[in-house]
């Protein structure tokens, strides 16, 4: 059997195997053997291609708009946890962004009293939106985050779990102190930094699972 004859039959036998003559040619011919090895390798590698790309948020926006126009779903009402503009983001990414926004909102003079002569704080603040901090990053969100990490990065899950516990404890401490001493600027700053740490943790976790 010549190489040309073998390669003519190849499309129909590569998956199922050939007849005795074809198999013998494959054993004896290094050129055809290399060719088959290459093609099989390409097929193996193709099987490993996992869906990596994400559509942009506007795809979901388009779908939602169409469904609402067609009356297939009721127009979404504003929900406490996700802002309208951010709702098209993956929820974990949105949560990370929202925590940063909440951090900025908290900085937005909510009960803050400036002491006469107080040194100006020079902490960079993200854009401000007025939302309730209590609705941000609930325990349920933490659980979902940890589940995602556990599913995709099981080796890292204990690290994120223990650090999330520490960050949440810091938030609880600072909130309690602030509740008892509303004018304690340092306690307020501690709370803001704790939220900032939580935002960082979410961001690192999101990147890790992506």
């Amino acid at each position: 059997m010549t190489c040309a004859e073998f390669q003519k039959a190849l499309p129909y036998i590569i998956e199922t195997g050939g007849n005795a003559e074809e198999e013998q040619h494959l054993r004896e011919c290094p050129v055809c053997s290399d060719l088959v090895q290459d093609l099989r390798y390409i097929v193996e590698q193709a099987k490993l291609l996992v869906p990596m790309e994400e559509p942009s948020p506007k795809v979901w926006d388009g779908i939602k708009g169409s469904l609402e126009r067609e009356g297939m779903i009721r127009p979404s009402r504003a929900r406490g946890r996700l802002l309208g503009k951010k709702s098209s983001l993956p929820w974990i990414g949105a949560l990370g962004a929202i925590i940063l926004i909440a951090f900025g909102a908290f900085l937005f003079q909510r009960g803050r009293q400036t002491q006469p002569g107080a040194a100006l704080e020079t902490i960079a603040t993200p854009p401000v939106q007025a939302i309730s901090l209590e609705t941000v990053a609930t325990e349920q969100d933490d659980q979902q985050l940890l589940q995602q990490v556990a599913a995709r990065r099981p080796g890292s899950a204990p690290l994120y779990e223990s650090n999330l516990t520490q960050v949440n404890a810091a938030i609880a401490d600072a909130k309690k102190r602030l509740g008892e001493n509303p004018n304690d600027e340092d306690a307020r700053q501690s709370l803001m930094r704790a939220y900032q740490q939580k935002a960082m943790l979410y961001e690192l976790a999101v990147r890790a699972v992506q």
Partner: protein, 281 residues
């Protein structure tokens, strides 16, 4: 009789070096770049070391420990991307790739790792490093430097004239001779250690929720210092002049403030429940 001295032929004993990493494969990638180049590296397991090299090129040497991990290295204009990815499920040792990278000193660098240590030395461009448990070390550099970890230690040494930010949840943060316009270190539980003269008329802010903050200053340090622990304690062994215009109430054991020399740089130490200690170098 002529004695023929017979020279014994020296047998060169070729020592067969035991190849401990029989499956290790090294690859080198060289990319010509122009000034202002950037490189991003993403690696799950294995060390990443970046140093300043000579010439206008980026040289990436990647040593992978098994065939279960592959190195993607591509160049897009003046930007190089290097990424390790698993071809199949792999244990940490199998998925490990060791990177040694040389870049032009002004190159910008972004590194994302999970567990492997990161070392950066001698660079002047923007440096951004993120890790989970990875120890991060940056030294002898200046510029914008951002280091963030979940639990990995961050050690910054001999950084000058920079904008430095180090954040970790539980990892220790150590700053030795770090100076610049803005220097910030923040942890939730990790301890912060600082030693240096706070040069550069900058704003230095070290804060932790429950971690201790230890600061060592030379007598020549020109700082306007304030320290407060909301629920913990403070201790000062560094000579300070009381501030002319106090902006913070001084509470024995909980806070103190003062200036040293001209007070050119502002040094702000805050912890919620940790201990703050300032001493003389």
């Amino acid at each position: 009789m002529q004695n023929t001295s017979r020279m014994a032929l020296g047998l060169v004993a070729a020592v067969a070096l035991a190849n401990g990493a029989a499956s290790a494969q090294k690859k080198e990638f060289r990319y010509p770049v122009s000034p202002g180049a950037s490189i991003s590296v993403a690696n799950e397991f294995g060390p990443v070391t970046l140093r300043a090299g000579s010439g206008n090129q980026i040289v990436v040497t990647a040593t992978r420990r098994s065939s279960k991990v592959e190195v993607d290295s591509t160049q897009h204009g003046n930007r190089v991307e290097v990424r390790s990815h698993f071809l199949q499920a792999a244990k940490p040792e199998e998925g490990r790739v060791d990177y040694e990278i040389q870049v032009p000193p002004d190159a910008s660098v972004m590194v994302r790792v999970s567990a492997g240590p990161v070392k950066v030395q001698g660079l002047n461009g923007d440096i951004s490093i993120e890790g989970e448990n990875s120890p991060i070390e940056v030294r002898d550099s200046h510029g914008q430097i951002h280091a963030r970890t979940v639990g990995g230690a961050i050690t910054l040494t001999n950084l000058y004239d920079g904008h430095v930010e180090a954040m970790s949840v539980s990892g220790p943060v150590t700053l030795n001779n770090v100076a610049g316009k803005v220097v910030t270190a923040n942890t939730t539980a990790g301890p912060i250690t600082f030693s240096g003269d706070c040069a550069g008329e900058g704003q230095y802010s070290l804060s932790s929720h429950s971690g201790n903050i230890d600061v060592s200053l030379p007598a020549s340090a020109s700082v306007d210092l304030s320290a407060r622990s909301v629920m913990g304690s403070v201790e000062n062994e560094f000579p300070l002049q009381p501030p002319a215009h106090p902006t913070m109430a001084v509470n024995q054991g909980k806070s103190f403030a003062g200036t040293s020399n001209a007070g050119a740089s502002s040094l702000r130490l805050r912890t919620f429940s940790g201990k703050i200690r300032v001493q003389k170098l």
